[in-house]
Amino acid sequence: MAEATGNGGCAKRPLDVASIRDDFPSLSHRNSNGQSIVWLDNSATTQKPRCVIDALTDFYTNYNANVHRGYYEWGQRATEAYEGTRKRLADFIHADAAEEIIFTRGATEALNALAEIIGQRYFQPNDEVIVTELEHHSNQIPWQMQQAKRGIRIKGWRLEEDGRLDPSRLEELLTPKTKLLAFSHLSNVLGLIPPVKEIIKRAHANGTLVVIDAAQALAHVAIDVKDLDCDFLVGSAHKAYGPTGAGFFYGKRALLETLPPWHGGGTMMETVEIDRFTPAEVPFRFEAGTPPIADIIGFGVAIDYLRQFDWEALSKHEEDVVQYAEERLSALSFIRLAPCPTRRTAVVSFLVDGLHPHDVASLVCDDNIALRAGFHCCQPLMKRLNYPSGLVRASFGLYNTREDVDRLVVALKRAVEIFKR
């Protein structure tokens, strides 16, 4: 598994897309017509490189054990591998310390955990939480649930007509009661990256905590939590070439220390009596029960996989393909792209004139093209930008190519032909 051992510091593997594609066994799939798969649903989940799949097999075959307790060799190896991911991830997003990484089963769980423990500690009745209209439901509903639980109020940050998040709107939104602002680093619908740093700065000037949803950004944008100065940040392994069932939140150590535990169970406590307990230290305070051990270990391998490439080269390749998609799609008379005021990252969403988005997604299946239609878990966004039946979305990963875009264009033309008859 040479491809999995690259780390942040050493010489980087050249970005050769053909050899990258070879790393992903699923990409060799062909349908009954012999057409190879065009995976353009990366925002939903990415494909997995062989080294990640092998890491799971390796764990279950060679050192399957629970973590943090067993003295036998497997228990130690499992614990080291599991904690190794914490270090890798901390490194990857430039956190100060491994203890600032808390494992969850995914970004959604991470956001729910944060809403609950931040809410418990910091929210008072009539406090306000700002959430943008850009957000995924996973970054909406957990905060909404705090309304009923703690009497806070959600304030929506309205998008501009062109899909922009205008930081100057914050001046109206931020009040002395604004405890928290939650927004995504990369929109899973528009491919838009907001001015993250500027927004965080303005929020902090108001004493407002900031939670960044990096579920989409993790695999596509270089993240530096120190530079961003965000208070919390979440992500999912399966959207960054890792296994399903693993994710994390990052929190500034000093803030994590102030938060109560989340789930109750093994590991998160020090002492337990029948009606009381004392919590463990950070990070274990927030990790109860047997974690998704294999998935977390696989997550670490996925990060290693990503880090063997030069991030600039990787971004440049993805940019090239996304820009090519934009160009080719804009050139089709029957396509209307969703707005994106900045450069699109990883995602291109659009409508096909006269075709329902869901029919488009079904029609291109026949050409072994996987993309997605609908609200993409962003109903407020769809309402705001007036897409009552949602959008068709093509989303890209490091293995996608211009040829994939060409295949998509052919398939879309065919779809329109079928409907014209």
Partner: protein, 170 residues
């Protein structure tokens, strides 16, 4: 999946309008896509005198609704109900036998292989059955009920409310 028949019915759906004097009506909502169909009925002497639908949906949904109106209009309520139940069973249950005399409805055969799209094909049929089971729209509240009629008190059994359409959550 997209047979000729379906494409034709999608392009020019039959009975795609709101009845002016419905006796029964009901919404169908597909939570997977947000699409909504309303089925309108005029039932006289236990017979489906007139049937129509409004709303938005994908090609599968609209074609299925259009085919349904052709299939059910003129039938007795009992026959129409049996018909609808038979079609729903066939669409939902991969092991179910094909109903007799499918006619043009056979075009929906392809949809059965795509579980994620079956709700599209069944949406109108479910709405039809729901409409049948509504209390008849009385003359006095026809106006408002024409746009809904699917529930009495504005809330569903599990206490949920929708914030659009008629507000009944169905």
């Amino acid at each position: 999946m997209y047979r000729e028949v379906l494409l034709a019915h999608n392009e020019q759906p039959h009975h795609f309008y709101a009845l002016s004097q419905p006796t029964h009506a009901a919404h169908g909502h597909n939570p997977l896509c947000g699409d909504e169909i309303t089925v309108h009925l005029r039932i006289e002497s236990d017979r489906i005198k007139e049937i129509s639908f409004t709303g938005q949906g994908c090609a599968i949904c609209k074609a299925s609704a259009s085919l349904m109106t052709l299939r059910l209009e003129g039938l007795s309520v009992t026959d129409a109900e049996k018909n609808a139940q038979g079609i729903l069973k066939w669409l939902n249950d991969a092991t179910a036998e094909q109903p007799d005399n499918l006619g043009e409805l056979e075009a929906l055969l392809g949809v059965r292989k795509f579980p994620m799209r079956i709700k599209c094909a069944t949406l109108a049929w479910h709405a039809f059955l729901k409409a049948l089971n509504q209390p008849a729209i009385s003359d006095t509240n026809k106006e408002s009920s024409a746009s809904c009629g699917c529930c009495g008190n504005g809330s569903t059994p599990n206490g949920k409310h929708l914030n659009d359409g008629c507000g009944c959550g169905s």
